[in-house]
Assembly symmetry: C2
Homo-oligomer: 185 residues x 2
């Protein structure tokens, strides 16, 4: 397998675009070659097969969605962090759509399911630990509930953007944090 | 177009199974014929094209997920209703997976997006109105937040069932209702 990290990232980003635009069944090694504008066969020099590609896309989504260190610096406020998380999701819409495609593909492929479950569990536990260690308001269960409510909000916002037109998201996020973390408003 | 309602429902249920198992790109009129075990061409006698089929699947998912009237009878308790909602989602797993496929397909097809948005908005507003009219605890914003948190919970539970292994869902649902509706525990 070829190992040029920059080329590899370009191929994974092309794969994310294919997943978002065509759905998981549209994702083939050749479709990634075409999307990246590289010679046919390039992607198969980097990934042994489609299953390997799917797992590597999963890890690439995290690199693409890593929080900006500046966002969490200073005295973080949960509501501000959540609003930034949604802004980020909107700017990286295709990464999240690709992630939803991976979740659905994982319902059909046990090896991807195992990888995705391990990955998302580690991420959730790291988020909960960070929140509690930082001394932000809220308990463990409240942080998990906040994660679930933000997941629901992002699924709606990314797939059916007008669904919440009558429910502006800024106040929704504020009330979500206040009530789930039992902060004083 | 043929109109035998029973046959039509059988074809839509077969389409839901194809969507859940193969993803949206696997959904063709012929794949529905094969899944339903009917002669090739039957589905195209009932649905003019794939776009029509997608819209009708959307409406069929609601028939499949209609709450049991017994569930809401008597003096309903939000926590009990939410726990039943999750049980129902688990029993009708493929209907929910198909619905997630429709959400992703709707990011690519404007006509399906419009239909899905109108449909989900009407459903959300009906749920909020029912909750408030029934005199259950909680305000409008709290009910919308509860909808979002349950959506997140169901997306995780259906696509990555082991993700919340360390966070049993019964207490999560209880705390979600207590805090978002500001009920006394």
């Amino acid at each position: 397998m070829r190992q040029n990290p920059q080329r590899r990232a370009v191929l994974l980003d092309a794969a994310i675009e294919v997943l978002a635009r065509e759905g998981s069944r549209g994702l083939t090694l050749r479709a990634v070659d075409a999307e990246a504008g590289v010679p046919t066969g390039t992607t198969s020099n980097y990934f042994a097969n489609r299953a390997q590609l799917l797992v590597q896309i999963l890890h690439r989504t995290r690199e693409r969605l890593l929080p900006d260190p500046a966002d969490a610096a200073g005295s973080p406020d949960t509501k501000v962090l959540l609003a930034r998380l949604l802004d980020r999701a909107r700017r990286e819409r295709n990464v999240h759509i690709a992630m939803l495609e991976l979740r659905l593909e994982a319902t059909r492929r046990p090896e991807l399911q195992a990888e995705l479950a391990g990955f998302l569990r580690a991420e959730l536990e790291a988020n909960v630990a960070w929140h509690l260690e930082t001394g932000l308001p809220g308990d463990r269960r409240g942080v998990v509930l906040l994660y679930l409510a933000m997941l629901g909000l992002m699924v709606d916002d990314l797939t059916v953007p007008t669904l919440l037109d009558d429910h502006p998201v800024a106040p929704l996020i504020e009330t979500m944090a206040e009530r789930l973390l039992e902060e004083q408003p």
